[in-house]
């Protein structure tokens, strides 16, 4: 311990917390006094309340000279304002990690939504287990947390009961499943105690729209849960479209258009736009100026004529046309230089759907 260096501070802190050795705590204070920035390693290695008083005081006393210590002091109520918020350049990922490692729910709830978003964006998604450790089992954090041993330890800090801990981690395991396996897996699981939180975590959305919460409360069935989760997952992933279409068709099998539209209306904005693109935007991007009306009619006929289970993936396929339109236009311009510059070319998929 006498030869320990700043790089050993995290391990030294864990040793001091576990063993309560005075020599270990003294080494921590010595290293911290020489380099206050290393407070980041201390607060990330152990919860604030587990640190000895002299370590806490050393960190708080350096708040005027070090941004990381200032962020920690703000989270513990020793400073009225977070310094990183007043000086934007000071909000780095290190400051954010220290902030989230020591913040309490009371301080977090006093921040405005913009401040919370700023701190969250500075943090990044790889260390969300520390947020869970500090702020509790909020589905907003669990939805994007990585499923690993650190997260288990963080969840265990708040849920001493093993069964409850597994129940909190189960939607994260469902979130990581292949898309095509979600519907059958959820059907084999018992109904979750909180369907809205289950959908939010398994769907991977940090914010839960109130409309979607109401829709889930009005449809407390496993089929509705599967449909909502699959729709959210499909909206977030843009690759491997055929598999997504099959998964969506399977999840929404037997649904009426009215029920499907009700779900789509309840989804977050970005998910709804991804699943149900605006027909005018599609027509503008995919057709020539004089064929837009034909395109809209053909699209409408295609939706109505197709059998119900197969027609839902047409929503996705339309989005697929939309995303593919730009490279098609670029390649096609070399073959058809006479095309009007203000009009886009007709996509082959569109021609096949025309009556």
């Amino acid at each position: 311990m006498q030869r320990s260096e700043p790089g050993d501070l995290a391990d030294l802190t864990r040793l001091a917390v576990a063993s309560s050795m005075d020599a270990a705590w003294a080494a921590v204070v010595r290293l911290l006094s020489a380099n206050p920035t290393s407070a980041l390693h201390i607060v990330t290695a152990a919860p604030w309340d587990d640190l000895r008083v002299d370590v806490q005081e050393t960190i708080l006393s350096a708040a005027d000279t070090d941004n990381i210590c200032a962020a920690i002091a703000f989270t513990r109520g020793a400073r009225p304002d977070p310094p990183a918020m007043t000086r934007k350049t000071a909000m780095t990922w290190k400051t954010a990690r220290a902030f989230f490692a020591a913040v309490t729910p009371a301080v977090w709830n006093t921040l405005t939504e913009g401040e919370q978003r700023a701190w969250g964006s500075a943090l990044g998604g790889t260390v969300l287990h520390r947020v869970v450790r500090s702020l509790g089992l909020d589905p907003a954090f669990l939805a994007e947390a990585t499923h690993d041993v650190d997260l288990i330890a963080a969840v265990r800090c708040h849920v001493p009961d093993e069964d409850a801990m597994r129940g909190m981690l189960l939607p994260i395991a469902v979130r990581d499943l292949p898309l095509a396996a979600i519907s059958r897996t959820i059907a084999a699981l018992p109904p979750p105690p909180d369907p809205a939180a289950f959908v939010q975590i398994a769907g991977g959305i940090p914010t839960m729209p109130s409309a979607l919460r109401d829709w889930i409360a009005a449809n407390p069935t496993p089929q509705a849960t599967v449909g909502a989760i699959t729709a959210l997952r499909v909206a977030m992933q843009r690759d491997n479209q055929p598999d997504h279409c099959r998964a969506l068709a399977h999840a929404l099998e037997g649904w009426s258009w009215q029920k499907t539209n009700a779900l789509l209306d309840a989804l977050p904005n970005d998910a709804r736009i991804a699943l149900r693109p605006d027909p005018d935007v599609l027509a503008r991007r995919l057709t020539r100026c004089d064929r837009k009306r034909d395109f809209r009619q053909a699209r409408h006929r295609a939706y109505r004529r197709a059998p119900v289970p197969q027609s839902r993936p047409l929503i996705l396929r339309s989005q697929d046309w939309n995303t593919r339109a730009r490279p098609y236009q670029r390649d096609h311009q070399f073959q058809r230089p006479q095309a009007p510059p203000t009009c886009t070319s007709v996509h082959p998929h569109h021609q096949s759907t025309q009556p």
Binding site: I152, D163, L169, A173, A181, T185
Partner: protein
């Protein structure tokens, strides 16, 4: 399409209460499905406990589950299988000390069938000649033994072998292997722990035990050899200094 995936089919059967390991073993070969089994409330306790190490989450297991004879028997029955290959790596993190000693023959066979890593087998079996030989096998496979009298510490890219060793020694993979292997050693006496307090919290003593264990079977006992446990092995000799 995963509708016909053996792992999904096995997972669904386990979720519905199936306990036959031959039927549900494919689920343990897929980490994502194994995690669902480890966390689902309707799964049989032994199957759920098997899903935790198979899913790479051995910390979910409680001490009582780790010491369960039913779980030990279930894992022993999977040694040498593909599912066992996925389970044993994480099981070495939490297995009781010397758990694999009674299954040493099966574990060593699994090593030779590439169904278990050598260092995992050594950690499960515990400190003995068999585990030392397993560590020796690991080094022999991954390291080209230098001819005596050559400057084998100098690497082609000009990096000194010693510094390469230092880098390997601090890598996360090496650290995990060292930690797991050190768990297999007998607990330190209190006076020994105190005598090492000024240098480190006892970890160096355990590491030196493992090193001595390996060096006892090396072919170069007359040289000053330093071997990291696992990959990236290099040799530093007196001649190269």
């Amino acid at each position: 399409m995963h509708a016909s995936s053996p792992a999904l089919t096995a997972t669904l059967r386990a979720l519905r209460g199936e306990t036959d390991l031959r039927v549900i073993a494919p689920a343990f070969s897929n980490r994502r499905f194994a995690r669902v089994l480890a966390l689902a409330p309707t799964v049989h306790p032994v199957v759920r406990a098997l899903g935790a190490p198979a899913g790479g989450l051995p910390d979910i297991l409680t001490p009582a589950e780790c010491a369960s004879p039913a779980l030990a028997a279930a894992i022993a029955s999977l040694i040498g299988t593909d599912a066992g290959h996925h389970i044993l790596g994480s099981w070495a993190d939490v297995a009781p000390v010397g758990w694999g000693a009674s299954h040493a023959a099966d574990v060593i066979d699994a090593v030779w069938c590439n169904r278990c890593a050598s260092w995992v087998a050594a950690a499960l079996i515990g400190p003995c000649d068999a585990s030392a030989a397993l560590l020796h096998k690991t080094m022999g496979h991954r390291q080209r033994r230098p001819a005596l009298g050559t400057d084998h510490a100098r690497q082609p890219d000009g990096v000194d072998g010693a510094s390469r060793f230092e880098r390997a020694e601090t890598s996360p993979a090496y650290t995990r292997r060292r930690t797991v292997l050190c768990r297999t050693l007998p607990p330190l006496a209190t006076d020994k722990m105190r005598s090492n307090d000024s240098q480190s919290p006892g970890g160096e003593y355990a590491v030196s035990c493992v090193r001595r264990l390996y060096q006892s079977v090396t072919r170069y006992p007359h040289q000053s050899c330093r071997y990291p446990i696992g990959a990236h092995a290099t040799v530093r000799t007196r001649r190269s200094r």
